[in-house]
Symmetry: C2
């Protein structure tokens, strides 16, 4: 009988962090592309754009506030924040929508669940330079971004009622980003949102059933072993490691959904940005540059993605119990070129995530990419 | 104290079918739009396009097969199917990637889970007419589509190794659809995919803890009561029902994620398309027309969406135990107009789904839409 080949035969892989599966159909990469082709954004931005609402000194999108003449990072509260620090308490007002019918009241209590959410949303400009991205910034300047994220997590986490701080970046028009000025967002909320809540539940469960071991520490250990075995064995393309540094490791997770999805993990079991030493902070900044430079070089384009940082909640049982393992996710949509993306649509929404190349193939492609940005090469 | 107002104050709602939450920020609908604007596809298609690989008599995208001169629906196996009916069995080949290191083998078995997936993928052309969509087809012709889906579910379900049949449609370039010819897909697999598996687990759990009652039957009962109460009370906009017929009800679910997401449910507790009577089948066809016509009329554009049908698995414990309640989901991306869509990106991917208008507001807008397609009006 022919052996099962991961780079040929459809299979599904389990994501132990979120308890979901992904269908892998590696042979699908061979089909001709007939779908939508993205338009490329103009890539000749000035260092300062007088019409940009994020550039230093300019007026913001609400037409009222003005940015300072900042020279490093710049943080402000989102002018159209998704959550607010104060609002009326929720007193089961939903019950009013069915009146006094007792059967309706009992159905309602078994089916509809609501929570008020308070918090705040901030915007973090990464640089005063309108024409840069993390991929083109210097490590020292990215370190200022890391420091800003660290400080904001601590400040927001200390606000009464905030229990979780989500840092993220939407980059590129394909990811709904409305402004190419390098920036990200921070949404701090009273609830622990679905994704980190699921991860925490999985991490806690693994810990309880594996003598206190961390799922992600073990995963890092395993991927390093696979990578070493790949160097000496007949399975050269089985490694999922893209690169590793003294303090971090970047890999395409075994259960990746997006074509070139990566996860960046601290080698040491840290739970928050605040725990990082200055050397680790500097290393993280350099990893941010290296991941994004490889991405840009992959298709010689400014690579769109959503990036997010998962840290411990800022309150509650998992604040200081070490359950969380600090990590960053990158979810980039491009599949074949600068203009051909992967759509997670019908089957993916209704049934299960599906991908067209394996995590190992993606890691191999990313390993081959230079960390010197294509724009700066001769 | 001011009362909590669902159309003003951020809150999150729980989805009891998938055990996830959605953050609702109704006031965000007021922010100015600065993001990507979709380009509109040309909407002057001929009835037959000689270059379309789905039109009757034409050559397909693989360059080899040819379509029949079909006059109703037309079904063929996807030329680049994501799964195949036969392939080598999986014999833990993954273990080879770490060699004989016993620590690595034990880490691997606790972290990496793989299943081989077999099955088949089919394409269903809804009509020989290149220029139509479900929204513009006649109910009688849509009924032929429903009959085709029903037959395909039975045929594929009877194939050895197939345990679940997922019917879906990706419509519009914004949803990764590569061809405007009216068509959908069917992926039949050996596994029960993540989404229906989650729904089945939730439905089974509810049933066990509510004297055998069905979560979705109870939900339909509740929404009808809310809708009646809305007519006589001071909360006129609390109804989430878009329309109902003799056999089906269409509503914006309380926990909707996409701006104009709807769910279409059978009023009777059916689990599969095959259980529908001819009258119910005709009614379902008419509902498909009514939902999609309202959608097209909302922004006077051919409305993009992904649609999917959830039925009972075709094998296993939930095949005939009545746990599943037949329903259809529509996930459309448009938010404000024909060219402005909602992006589920950074926060949504990393933390939790987020929406900008409430389910009740969306239902109100959809109720106001005509069921007579805008193109056919004077
Ligand atoms: O099979 P198609 O229409 O070429 O492909 C489309 O639908 C599939 C199923 O939802 C997705 O996996 C693809 O990303 C999408 O482009
Ligand atoms: O806040 P922005 O950048 O205007 O908005 C963008 O990011 C948000 C958070 O991921 C999303 O909810 C929006 O759909 C997206 O357009």
């Amino acid at each position: 009988e022919q052996a099962f080949d991961f780079s040929e035969h459809p299979h599904r892989r389990y994501n132990p962090l979120t308890d979901t599966w992904v269908l892998c159909s590696p042979h699908r990469a061979k089909r001709p592309w007939l779908g939508q082709v993205e338009s490329l954004p103009p890539d000749n931005r000035p260092q300062h754009d007088p019409t940009c609402y994020l550039c230093p000194g300019n007026t913001r999108s609400d037409g009222a506030n003005q940015n300072s003449d900042y020279t490093s990072t710049f943080v402000f509260t989102n002018d159209f924040a998704a959550v607010k620090l104060s609002q009326p308490n929720y007193h089961n007002e939903l019950a009013n929508t069915v009146g006094t019918d007792s059967e309706a009241q009992s159905l309602l209590s078994s089916l509809l669940k609501v929570e008020s959410v308070t918090g705040t949303c901030r915007v973090v400009c990464f640089s005063p330079r309108h024409d840069l991205t993390l991929a083109e910034m210097e490590t020292e300047h990215i370190q200022e971004v890391v420091q800003t994220w660290t400080r904001e997590t601590e400040d927001l986490g200390a606000v009464h009622g905030v229990n979780y701080v989500q840092i993220f970046e939407n980059k590129g028009a394909a990811m709904g980003c409305s402004n190419p000025h390098p920036h990200g967002q921070i949404w701090a909320t009273s609830d622990i949102p679905t994704e980190p809540a699921r991860e925490l539940a999985s991490l806690a469960k693994y810990r309880a059933s594996h003598d206190g071991a961390c799922l992600l520490c073990n995963y890092v250990k395993l991927e390093s072993k696979v990578s070493s075995a790949a160097k000496t064995s007949s399975t050269p393309s089985s490694s999922r490691v893209v690169f590793s540094t003294e303090h971090f490791i970047c890999l395409v997770p075994f259960w990746a959904v997006w074509p070139y999805e990566v996860i960046l993990l601290s080698l040491r079991h840290a739970s928050t940005l605040a725990e990082l030493t200055p050397a680790e902070q500097h290393d993280l900044a350099d990893c941010l540059r290296r991941v994004t430079a490889r991405y840009d070089n992959l298709f010689a384009t400014s690579f769109p993605y959503s990036m997010g940082i998962h840290q411990a909640p800022t309150a509650g049982e998992h604040k200081e119990d070490g359950t969380m393992h600090l990590h960053l996710h990158w979810y980039p949509p491009l599949l074949r070129s600068a203009t051909v993306r992967k759509f997670l649509v019908g089957y993916e929404m209704m049934a299960e995530a599906q991908r067209d190349l394996t995590a190992e193939q993606a890691a191999e492609r990313l390993r081959q990419c230079s960390e010197v940005h294509y724009k700066t090469r001769g």
